[in-house]
């Protein structure tokens, strides 16, 4: 059985890889693409640690076939910072201790960024329901929610609408 050849765009740059037809996008990211920032917690779409965006839409990369990436635009945790300049969410997570072990953090940040892109003024309830698909076992979510709300305020006050390469 021959592998599929996929051409796609990841974090604004062209990328290509070989994969099996049954490989998920998460398999492709962590395998041939060497982008191990997205994590596998469950491989069944229940934990969100593999979150990426597909054409600016938040999805679980474990619930997408790698083959589907052809011709689309993907963004992963590796594309959030600009060189050594952290995204405001990343900086705020560090300042507010919104992570402990860090395994859920990639997914949380990608998901939170997707929220703020869609809704720059979320309420606490909106943040909590948006992030319901991102499991965290260490923090009890408190500091994560606070960090997202504060970053939303900061970004509005500084007139930052998006933070893209």
């Amino acid at each position: 059985m021959t592998k599929l050849h996929v051409s796609t765009t990841i974090n604004g740059e062209p990328a290509e890889f070989l994969c099996e037809p049954y490989d998920t996008m998460l398999d492709a990211l962590r395998g041939p693409l060497g982008l191990t920032g997205s994590k596998e917690g469950c491989a069944s779409g229940d934990c969100g640690a593999c979150s990426i965006t597909l054409d600016d839409r938040l999805v679980c990369s474990c619930l997408m076939l790698a083959a589907e990436a052809e011709g689309h635009e993907l963004r992963t945790i590796e594309g959030m910072a600009h060189g050594d300049k952290l995204h405001p969410l990343q900086q705020k997570f560090l300042e507010m201790a919104a992570l402990q072990c860090g395994i859920c953090t990639s997914g949380m940040l990608v998901a939170s960024d997707a929220l703020l892109q869609k809704n720059p003024r979320p309420s606490e309830e909106e943040v909590r329901f948006w992030l319901a698909g991102n499991l965290c076992r260490c923090t009890g979510y408190d500091k994560i929610v606070r960090a997202v709300l504060e970053t939303a305020t900061d970004m509005r006050e500084q007139g930052i609408r998006e933070f893209r390469q």
Binding site: E20, R30, L35, T36, G37, S38, K39, E40, G41, C42, A43, S44, D46, C47, A49, T76, I77, E78, M80, A81, L86, Q90, F93, L94, E95, M96, A97, L99, Q100, C101, G102, I103, C104, T105, S106, L109, E124, E125, V127, R128, F129, L131, A132, G133, N134, L135, C136, R137, C138, T139, G140, Y141, D142, K143, I144, V145, R146
Partner: protein
């Protein structure tokens, strides 16, 4: 003890030194690592809860193209039943049977063989080709079934009171005379409780990458709570000497006690040795849920007697905890901690370790204590209600303090339990108004905390900064706290201190990350190492100034003359002394290795508000305040984080988490869909109050904080639900169907 009070860094919310990599996806967890030539390992697991293994034929698997090695229990060192070999608290007789079934498969998911092949798909296919002949045996999962007369006995060698039994052990803690105690009681409440097994729920599955050279030199990357434990267990189980194994702790994606033993490492090591290739093994979520130890299910009975004025005179507890397929449930925690917050003259606390055909239990955050506290704190709530006393007032009246002989034996030194009760009572949460169908509950809890071995190395770089190497995996932000301490002692900016976790080759022996001991132990050795470095720096300055080292003081990152009498000299900074190091005596650094002592237990008092939907039986936690005596909050953000994390786990345990078994004895919910941990929208903000009563036996007053927060939670939630509904709950989880049943009588 010299607790630093004029703090620049201790008590500050600094940025953790490992943070940038964690928020950019760069931090290397075990499954992120690769090595050239790497192949993949997979495990074949028993489908049966209990079966004799009559034969295993691996020939077809070995013949499959791409398969490089196959391992069975024959390859694993046997520890004979008649001789206990302890590694910490783990008995290697059980460990060697847990990592792979020997004579019998003891639970569904028990490893029976392992394969390494050039792709995951081939390894999985090879497992399907292994032919195992099983003689299926009767089984039991639940405690009550395992204890029935005629229940299938898991191990012929296990005897209790002279007869073959599924009781793996019994322990007891006694104080005074329990009969005398109850005779003096004017009110006695006795209740029985049941809890289900729950999993630690770490989001990162177990993973390792292991390479074994032709000379046996072995390198292990793994997700674990202790690289020294990994090295030792792997050595014991594979026969490779410890000195030939280098165990490197990868960043760990959650453990909570569940990663204080090994599952994959011995198998991957043997596969790597046999194949001559590095082997990577990663568990699926289903494997984690089926085959790694959740904590015990339990059946407990607690009886408390008091006089009408609220003084508790007698307390008795009997705790049956599920061990799983091999001995070792955390009865010590249930028996030893549950009554410890109270000064009770007569106590009898007994625990039974009950074996059954489910996976062997693994430690879970204050192992055993949350189970015991659930029962005791609920009975205390009933007692308060019967005596028409405020529940916090009842606890204050009986609170343990300095000088109290704890139920589990020691005499308490200066502790902070009363402070937590008073802080809870004074907190606005305690008197905030409640709405319709809302209720409030309180509960307290205690956990021993541990000390133990730790090593550290503090080295000054040639450019005058600091590298600290410690020995414990960081699961809660300990690197941040260590940076705060070292920077404080040296009087320099915390960003000039790099904190790394060494592996077994680069740092001295350090015991597990667990027992709420990492900061306690590592802070002690880092402090001593830094003190030695400071002594060296003073000597170097003294040499340069040609005065006595006694006349030199170290302050704000530089050496100064201790007084005008010592002479007029410009301060010598850390950078200046580092630059002169080669000429002035050599490298500046010091290491300390200790078996640290002086760890003190911790206490928590929690307040929980719930709202109930009485038509659907749904309980939601709407407000939560956790008060804890934390010793000294070196980095408040990460101490709060430990408290909030423990509370969230306890809420899950109280309301929705449970292992569900089907009629074939298999786990029916081995995934995050139906093993229902709290999601973001399930919880409110979790408020914390850190009461600082410094540990007098620690240079910075540090006390362990990680485990206490789980202990009071289930009782706090259960007591709140009672306050909302007027009905008591004697079993967990309080899931909607069970709540509705109780509401409807």
């Amino acid at each position: 003890m010299n607790v630093i009070t004029n703090n620049k860094w201790i008590g500050q919310r600094t940025i953790r030194p490992d943070g940038a990599d964690k928020v950019t996806g760069r931090a290397a967890f075990a499954a992120d690592t690769t090595m050239p030539g790497m192949i993949w390992g997979k495990v074949l697991r028993s489908p049966h809860p209990h079966a004799r293994i009559k034969s295993i034929d691996t020939s077809k698997a070995e013949a499959l193209p791409g398969v490089k090695a196959v391992v069975t229990s024959r390859d694993i060192v046997d520890f004979p039943i008649d001789k206990s070999v302890m590694l910490g608290i783990q008995d290697m007789r059980w460990m060697c049977r847990n990592v792979m079934a020997r004579e019998k498969a003891l639970f569904p998911g028990h490893p029976v063989a392992a394969v390494a092949a050039t792709s995951e798909a081939i390894a999985a296919r090879a497992c399907e080709l292994i032919e195992v002949e099983y003689e299926v045996l009767p089984w039991s999962v639940e405690i009550e079934d395992a204890l029935l007369p005629g229940a299938p006995i898991l191990h012929d060698f296990m005897k209790f009171e002279g007869k073959p039994s599924n009781i793996g052990g019994r322990i007891e803690v006694k104080k005074g005379d329990i009969a005398e105690g109850f005779a003096a009681a004017e009110i006695v409440i006795e209740r029985s409780f049941a809890t289900r097994p729950v999993h630690q729920g770490y989001i990162e599955p177990h993973a390792c990458l292991i390479s074994v050279g032709a000379d046996n030199k072995t390198t292990i990357w793994s997700s674990s709570q202790g690289q020294f434990m990994v090295r030792a267990m792997t050595a014991y189980l594979t026969g490779i000497p410890q000195s030939d194994i280098r165990a490197i702790p990868a960043e760990i994606g959650g453990g909570f006690g569940g990663k204080t033993i090994v599952y994959l490492e011995p198998l991957a090591t043997l596969l790597a040795k046999k194949s001559g290739r590095p082997v990577k093994m990663v568990m699926t979520r289903e494997e984690v849920m089926r085959a790694t130890g959740p904590t015990s299910g339990s059946k407990s009975t607690v009886k408390i007697g008091a006089t009408r004025d609220g003084k508790i005179v007698a307390a008795q507890g009997t705790f049956y905890l599920q061990a799983g397929a091999l001995p070792g449930s955390p009865i010590r925690g249930a028996v030893g901690c549950s009554f410890s917050p109270y000064d009770i003259p007569h106590v009898l606390s007994v625990g039974f370790d009950v074996l059954s055909n489910r996976s062997k239990v693994a430690a879970y955050r204050a192992p055993g204590a949350p189970i015991g506290a659930y029962a005791v704190e609920c009975v205390l709530d009933e007692l308060a209600e019967a005596l028409k006393m405020d529940p916090l007032a009842l606890r204050l009246k009986n609170a343990a303090k300095q000088g109290t002989k704890a139920a589990h034996g020691p005499v308490f030194p200066r502790i902070g339990y009363i402070e937590t009760l008073e802080a809870a009572k004074a907190h606005p949460h305690y008197t905030a108004p409640l709405g319709k169908l809302q209720g409030r509950g309180v509960a307290s809890g205690f956990w021993f905390n541990a000390g133990g071995e730790s090593s550290a190395q503090v080295n000054i770089t040639e450019d005058g900064n600091v590298v600290v190497t410690t020995g414990h995996p960081d699961i809660g932000g300990s690197r941040a706290a260590i940076a705060n301490i070292c920077a404080e002692l040296l009087g320099i900016d915390y960003r000039r201190v790099s904190v790394l976790i060494g592996d077994t080759a680069t740092i001295g022996f350090s015991n597990l990350t667990g027992g709420s001991r990492v900061l306690f132990a590592s802070a002690m050795v880092v402090t001593q190492s830094t003190d030695k470095v400071i002594a060296t720096l003073r000597e170097r300055a003294a040499k340069i100034w040609e005065i006595d080292p006694e006349a030199v003081k170290w302050e704000n990152g530089a050496a100064h003359p201790a007084s005008p009498n010592a002479g007029q000299f410009e301060p010598l900074t850390l950078a200046e002394l580092a630059a002169k190091a080669p000429q002035m005596g050599g490298p500046i650094g010091a290491g300390v290795q200790l078996n640290t002592e002086g760890a003190e237990g911790g206490f928590g008092t929690h307040i929980c508000d719930v709202e109930v939907d009485p038509e659907l039986g749904i309980v939601r936690v709407i407000r939560y305040t956790a008060v804890q005596d934390v010793g000294r909050a070196i980095h408040p953000g990460y101490v709060e984080g430990q408290m909030q994390g423990g509370v969230a786990q306890g809420i899950g345990w109280a309301l929705n988490e449970e292992y569900i078994y089907n009629k074939d004895g298999k786990v029916d919910n081995p995934g995050f869909l139906d093993y229902r941990m709290p999601v973001c929208s399930d919880l409110p903000m979790l408020d914390t109050v850190m009461v600082e009563v410094p540990n007098p036996k620690h240079p910075q007053g540090v006390k362990g904080v990680g485990e206490v927060p789980l202990v009071p939670v289930m009782a706090a939630v259960a007591n709140a639900v009672h306050n909302a509904l007027g009905k008591r709950f004697y079993s967990l989880p309080m899931s909607p169907p069970k709540v509705l049943e109780v509401i409807e009588g």
